[in-house]
């Protein structure tokens, strides 16, 4: 009898729990759930996003939860595509600019034009055409470029002064803010103090796309504008790489492979990175300045990094996700996001507006670096089948990062590797 009662109780409990085991998260809560993949784990970023999501939920009771799923940056695209392959695509996702051609061209994303343009007060025409160019195909917008962040140089004024060198502001005023003087100053800093001269942040002799921040000064790009021809073996690229190689292995202006250092820890004179890294500056740790990238032999230039937000067609609720994206990127919320992510809205691209949410940066820094950078900058190179092409270039360029490298051979070898991929 006792056994019968126990068995009955167990079976009843199992039957009661069984439906919850097969219940999807979207059904488990009241209302539907949206999930957005992001690569930031920054508490301030997530608090801002959650605040906007809470405001949206208050207006839309049909939405139960909106979660921001942090995927580590290093394997972001790989993890995202694995989730898609596993039938677990998020509703929305941040998309790296390097992956933009693959995502936009694949048909995986929902066209946003109709939703955004029909949302009251959205002002779709306010989105900068240059900022949205990467995310368009056949006239349709497939992702909202929520962050359009120019690369610039952070300078540690204490280290530069201690080495008896001129500040970037002085060099700019004297009209000599160019790569040659920056390399000379950086080498002097390294020689006198042992500290690092110029770091190309996050490059680590692997992510070569960051070299665009230097290459563009020589008008050197890895492939032609139409993406079909390798230009790594061009004379411009040869000159740019020769400059970098000398700065690394002869002058000591750039820390070599396997050398650690961190500008924001105070052990580097100059750091090439995006302005969003200003949040890493600690109050009063050292005097710093933010200045545009130096001019190269081919003149002044600017490089911007972008990130978009796309809605997956195969997500569980694509139309609801698109509606949330319209709210997230509305003029009011775009302004809130601008404190971390420079917006693509023309009406907000001015020093006054950006200054309200970027207290760390002066008006002139915002004007010279952010506004000018975004309006004149070129986006880092990207291509369909980008991961394979990038891997081939990385593997080829490894041979360049030795003191006795044969640069012309390395660069022509890289072209031999990626030529067929570009043509394909």
């Amino acid at each position: 009898m006792k056994r019968t009662i126990t068995t009955t109780l167990c079976l009843t409990a199992l039957l009661a729990l069984a439906p919850t085991a097969f219940m999807t998260p979207a059904q488990a809560a009241d209302g539907l759930s949206l999930r957005m993949a992001v690569w930031t784990g920054n508490a301030k970023h997530l608090a801002l996003l959650n605040g906007i999501a809470d405001a949206y939920k208050a207006k839309h009771p049909e939405i139960g939860t909106i979660t921001f799923d942090t995927i580590p940056y290093d394997n972001y695209t790989t993890t995202l595509t694995t989730q898609i392959a596993g039938g677990n695509a998020p509703d929305l996702a941040w998309i790296l600019e390097s992956a933009a051609p693959d995502f936009v061209g694949s048909g995986a994303l929902l066209a946003l034009d109709d939703t955004l343009s029909s949302t009251a007060g959205y002002d779709f025409a306010d989105l900068s055409p240059s900022a949205t160019a990467l995310w368009r195909q056949d006239g349709k917008l497939f992702a909202y470029p929520f962050s359009t962040s120019p690369y610039a140089i952070f300078a540690n004024l204490d280290i530069i002064a201690a080495a008896g060198q001129k500040s970037p502001a002085d060099l700019i005023a004297a009209g000599s803010w160019n790569w040659q003087t920056v390399a000379t100053e950086a080498a002097a800093v390294h020689a006198k103090s042992g500290k690092n001269g110029v770091e190309i942040r996050d490059f680590d002799y692997k992510d070569w796309t960051l070299l665009t921040t230097v290459w563009d000064g020589w008008a050197a790009r890895p492939w032609s504008a139409d993406g079909k021809t390798c230009t790594l073996d061009s004379s411009d690229m040869a000159d740019a790489m020769a400059f970098l190689h000398k700065a690394i292995f002869k002058d000591g202006a750039i820390p070599g492979p396997g050398t650690s250092g961190d500008f924001f820890a105070g052990d580097t004179a100059f750091s090439i990175t995006q302005i969003s890294r200003a949040s890493l500056l600690k109050d009063g740790a050292f005097k710093w300045d933010l200045v545009p990238l130096p001019a190269g032999p081919k003149g002044s230039y600017s490089v911007i990094g972008q990130a978009g937000i796309g809605v997956f067609k195969n997500g569980k609720h694509p139309q609801d996700a698109a509606a949330f994206l319209a709210f997230l990127s509305s003029p009011e919320n775009s302004l809130k996001l601008a404190q971390f992510f420079p917006p693509p809205r023309l009406s907000q691209l001015n020093a006054e507006t950006l200054g309200k949410t970027n207290p760390l940066l002066s008006k002139s820094q915002l004007e010279e670096v952010v506004v000018k950078g975004i309006t004149t900058g070129k986006v880092s190179p990207s291509h369909t089948n980008n991961a394979q092409i990038a891997q081939q270039i990385r593997a080829s360029l490894d041979a360049a990062w030795t003191p006795d490298a044969d640069l012309p051979a390395v660069l022509s070898g890289a072209c031999a590797k990626i030529g067929p991929l570009l043509a394909h």
Binding site: T82, I84, T259, A395
Partner: protein, 310 residues
């Protein structure tokens, strides 16, 4: 006159006897192994079958297309210009790892089999890396092996200018092998230690009486008697060496160039970074074939060198 013998009717008692004690024992036995069989089917056999199926298809994850290409991925495998280099890197890694791991494990086991003070402490020290998280282990070694890392700092104290370990094609492969050996040598050491302790001491006493040197005792008594363990460890180590991934991903990302791009890392790149899932599946089938062939070869050759007590 033939006598009719009517067929005996099956009584209810006879029908019930189908559920014999033997059948009941079999049934209970199968129930015991059911969790293991379920795991094997769900996590090994079904994925294996799916992998074979994927290798006959091309799967574009982003576009959401899945199309049958027959042997197309295998034709690509046969003509892939990068594959010979990948197989060579895998072979270098496996040979280096197996030789270094087994010889060091045996040496440590012999040394720690002595009745000396402190051997338990050393056994613990050598075994402890086995239980450390693999990725954490690799990350620490990445810092130690970089140009201005801990290894070169020690070498500088000895007035030696160390190389950039993870950036040179040869030093990178050696570094990855050494990091992996130090991580796992403790496991094989413990297996060898157990085998050594099972060698009857009277055989050594008899050999000593016959005037055999320590080398002769080692090669004529120890090695033959622990040869089953050598076979076991070599099979485990060879199969494990071909599946190396995390160390490569953390330490070198397959570089410099493609010098440390071993088969599993190449498979990962093709499937998960470049999104060629079908081709990645065909590489996985190739890996399965290689591991299976090497294991079969080792097993087949065991009669030639493994001492059989029976």
């Amino acid at each position: 006159m033939a006598q009719d013998h009517p067929l005996p009717s099956i009584s209810p008692d006879v029908r019930r006897s189908w559920w014999t004690p033997a059948r009941r024992d079999h049934f209970i036995g199968y129930l015991f192994i059911l969790p293991q069989i379920t795991g094997l089917v769900v996590f090994v056999l079904v994925p294996l079958a799916l992998m074979a199926w994927y290798s006959l298809n091309e799967w574009n994850v982003l576009a959401g297309t899945f199309s049958f290409v027959g042997l197309g991925n295998y034709e690509k495998l046969a003509t892939d210009p990068a594959l010979p280099g990948v197989l060579w890197a895998s072979a270098c890694f496996s040979v280096g790892l197996v030789l270094f791991n087994l010889s060091l494990a045996l040496l440590l086991a012999v040394l720690l089999n002595q009745k000396l003070a402190g051997t338990v402490v050393f056994r613990t020290i050598f075994f402890s890396p086995v239980v450390v998280s693999l990725v954490a282990w690799a990350i620490v070694w990445r810092f130690l092996l970089q140009q201005d890392g801990g290894i070169n700092a020690v070498l500088r104290m000895l007035s030696i200018d160390g190389p950039n370990w993870l950036r040179g094609p040869n030093t990178a492969m050696v570094s990855v092998i050494v990091v992996q050996v130090v991580k796992n040598v403790g496991l094989n050491m413990v297996l060898f230690l157990a085998a050594l302790q099972n060698v009857p001491q009277e055989l050594y006493e008899a050999a000593r009486v016959d005037g055999a040197s320590r080398w002769t005792q080692f090669f004529r008594i120890t090695v033959p008697l622990i040869s089953p363990t050598v076979l076991l460890t070599s099979i485990i180590t060879v199969a494990g060496s071909l599946q190396v991934f995390a160390q490569i991903a953390v330490l070198t990302e397959g570089g410099p160039g493609t010098s440390t791009t071993v088969l599993v890392y190449y498979l990962y790149q093709q499937a998960f970074q470049f999104h060629f899932f079908g081709y990645g599946a065909s590489l996985a089938m190739l890996l399965l074939l290689i591991v299976g062939a090497l294991t079969y070869l080792q097993w087949s050759l065991r009669k030639a060198w493994v001492y059989d007590n029976d």
